[in-house]
Symmetry: C2
Subunit: 156 residues, 2 copies
């Protein structure tokens, strides 16, 4: 799963802001919102698993599983789920996407690129089984998640 | 992301049916149900993307992205989300897990192993960019999904 983060993130930003003709876009508005909410919750589950491992008994395989899931979703091009018209509406629940997520191309590209970088690094570090390094990288990845939440996600 | 399917599936079956002490279990019952529903919806999104590509204009990168997501979730050990007590209750919605999913160790192991095999193969085939081979493998993967749905998932 070797992918150049920068290309993908550029793709994400482009897809978020303009849509691309190069890849299939699927789903109605509510499907896209539900799928992206699902993807965030799968990432939250995986982050929770890594946290439990670095704070409790460390299980290398479990951390690898969780990191690989986060990496695959980070590289999935899920920007395709932010088509025009999906800035409001309900998937599993009302979307918390801020309007700026659909307009601030530079800002979105920046947080998306930061997240992809740390997610790819997390998968690499997890593979080593070095619990201390995983703990440090987990902190960086959490900050990258927060970078987007703070700028582009409404409070509950 | 090289993982031996059999080991993981054995882990899945064990975790589903007995729980294991070897890995951290996180989340309350409703969290586990919501996370697994989220994982299935992320897989459904990814399957839909592959379908759109084999039926429409083929985009190699998008198929790889989708196949990698399915593979990572298949290998995530999400059997850990089927702890005792999660056979009923609400995540995003009421769980559709049948009681047999928590009791039929052999049957669960069989469908889980079939799914993991086809998901790992899908990622390999996607990487080749051979649209016809992807289409054939997509059919096999869909059958593997159905194998579990028919046996262990309640109708809507």
């Amino acid at each position: 799963m070797k992918i150049i983060a920068q290309t993908l993130v550029a793709g994400l930003a482009l897809t978020v802001l303009a849509g691309t003709a190069s890849a299939q876009v699927i789903g109605k508005s509510e499907d896209q919102i539900r799928w992206r909410q699902s993807a965030y919750h799968v990432k939250a589950w995986s982050m929770g698993r890594i946290k439990a491992n670095v704070e409790g008994t460390y299980n290398k395989d479990q951390v690898i599983q969780a990191a690989n899931v986060i990496q695959a979703i980070a590289n999935s091009g899920m920007g395709a789920l932010y088509q025009p018209g999906t800035g409001s509406g309900k998937g599993w629940k009302e979307t918390r996407a801020k309007a700026e997520l659909f307009t601030d191309k530079e800002g979105v590209g920046k947080v998306a690129m930061a997240f992809n970088k740390e997610a790819n690094e997390m998968a690499k570090v997890a593979a080593t089984g070095d619990a201390a390094a995983v703990k440090a990288q987990f902190g960086k990845l959490g900050e990258a998640c927060k970078g987007c939440h703070e700028k582009f996600r409404k409070d509950e």
